[in-house]
Symmetry: C2
Subunit: 307 residues, 2 copies
């Protein structure tokens, strides 16, 4: 089944203790689409500028990603620059030039009308809800957001949360959105806002999925997928979007959406996130094999598996 990813395509300048790179292909939709492409067919809706050329297009094409939804606008592509210090947990933003992304109005090509799986990467919540409403046949909708929207557009975000199935955010965002410093309590409050499931990404500790009572035909018991910390994190940019790509891509590749599938999807999310940070930008996500992915899945599974 096809997964449609709606979000940003960008050029990034990244500095980390492992080095620095300029003008590398990035953006939430790029990371997510590449990660998902190892599991299922992927379509992208995004906007790019004149500086997005054949070289960038080729990255998507090589992974059989449908780029008919990538709109070309006059001007420059979204550009972001960030620096990671020693602990690598948070980037200091050096600059954000929204450029053509500032007026991004997602347009869904008619060929994408049959989309069954949709991931709404981190964009303005009203745009997310608009896209969702246009895709009536969507069976499962994943959604990301960030502190900026939680603080600035809480009402718009609340409307969006009513029409998505799985929200994927981190610990801090969950506590902020749920107005509670206790994570499981905050998780319950977020679920009460609409989504059937909440995936909380814990960075190097993995991720936990919390279910609304009765959602996906199962109880409220959460599930955790660990990740194994990486010995050299070169560039943490896009780890969360790559997680979303592994998670949504695996789900889209399965016949049914049930608890077992969501559990495995959580593991695949961690696997793709852990690969993403091993090199700058999307370099590692471009060079993977399905065998490498399965091998790491087994390592993560063994990491917590009791006989």
């Amino acid at each position: 089944m096809s997964l449609l990813v709606v979000g940003s395509v960008a050029f990034d300048d990244v500095k980390s203790p492992s080095g620095s790179k300029k003008n590398i292909l990035g953006g939430a939709a790029t990371y997510c689409a590449l990660a998902a492409s190892y599991f299922t067919e992927v379509r992208v809706v995004a906007v790019v500028g004149d500086d997005f050329g054949a070289e960038q297009e080729q990255v998507f094409k090589k992974h059989k990603i449908d780029t008919r939804g990538i709109e070309r606008a006059a001007g420059k592509t979204f550009r972001w620059g960030g620096t990671y210090s020693d602990n690598l947990n948070e980037a200091k933003t050096d600059f954000t030039d929204l450029n053509v992304f500032e007026k991004f109005q997602p347009r869904i090509p008619r060929e994408y009308d049959d989309t069954e799986f949709l991931f709404l990467a981190n964009i303005q919540p009203t745009l997310q809800a608009d896209v969702r409403r246009k895709l009536n046949r969507a069976r499962l909708i994943g959604c990301d957001t960030m502190n900026y929207w939680i603080n600035r557009t809480p009402r718009e975000l609340a409307e969006t949360l009513k029409v998505v199935d799985v929200l994927l955010i981190n610990d801090t965002e969950t506590k902020m959105l749920g107005h509670d410093t206790n994570l499981p309590r905050a998780a319950q409050r977020v679920l009460a806002m609409g989504p059937k499931a909440l995936v909380i990404k814990h960075g190097e500790y993995g991720a936990t999925i919390f279910f609304r009572e009765g959602a996906f035909g199962m109880g409220r018991h959460p599930f955790r997928a660990p990740t194994l910390p990486i010995e050299e994190v070169k560039d943490p940019t896009g780890a969360g979007d790559s997680f979303a790509g592994g998670f949504m891509g695996y789900i889209a590749s399965q016949q049914e959406v049930n608890r077992e599938v969501l559990k495995r999807a959580l593991f695949y999310g961690g696997v793709m996130g852990s690969f993403a940070v091993e090199d700058f930008g999307t370099a590692r996500l471009q060079s993977l094999t399905r065998e490498e992915i399965e091998a790491r899945f087994q390592v993560f599974r063994e990491l917590t598996h009791l006989e």
Copy 2:
């Protein structure tokens, strides 16, 4: 088999968002011994003052903990006061009165000479090494330490690390001791200092055990035990010591020390730590049943278990 715990017995004043309590029984050895008492016979070496009476003694007795190693000294017992703010991750210390603990010189009763399992709670590293040398029959020695000793007595600590088997510390302590901000790299450096295994406690995310190559007859693959975050954390004091109690107590209850036992021990550590924080002081650790412990073990196991 018996587990000997060497460390502090204290009276604590604790404030948290859930309330406040004064003069409650605490101390690393107390938490560790109580947690371990659900798995095996426990002995304690510690020092208390005149204010430690029949009521406190009874807490140990009720759990069949051998208190012949608890020395009574003239003066007051170690007293600590701390306040937890909203996030509950770190206490602000209000006061520390070492009292009789300041001159603590652990004395091992002759009846403890046959000790096979030993846990050295967080005390001055040279005292830890002295105790260890007196117990020639010890098969497995666990050890805790803290930032204070890592910074102030690095040479003494390095000597202690050469004579213990498993070091149990948290993420920050691992990075500090290993002089590396990357956790798995820091873990390898700590293992190179002596211990066969390193247990890194991640708080609400669980714990990971890293093995030195060839230790316990197995490879270097680490293992992670998750914990499920608790909806109401009343008092985080002693969570790490309760973890150590569950971990060491379970190991001491088994015939062999092998990888499977250490994996389960890591789960039991998380289980006991998660119970400890549910009430102030040792209240929850005093009221548990083995059935409750097994039930939570199953919940934690299911939390990450893929079919």
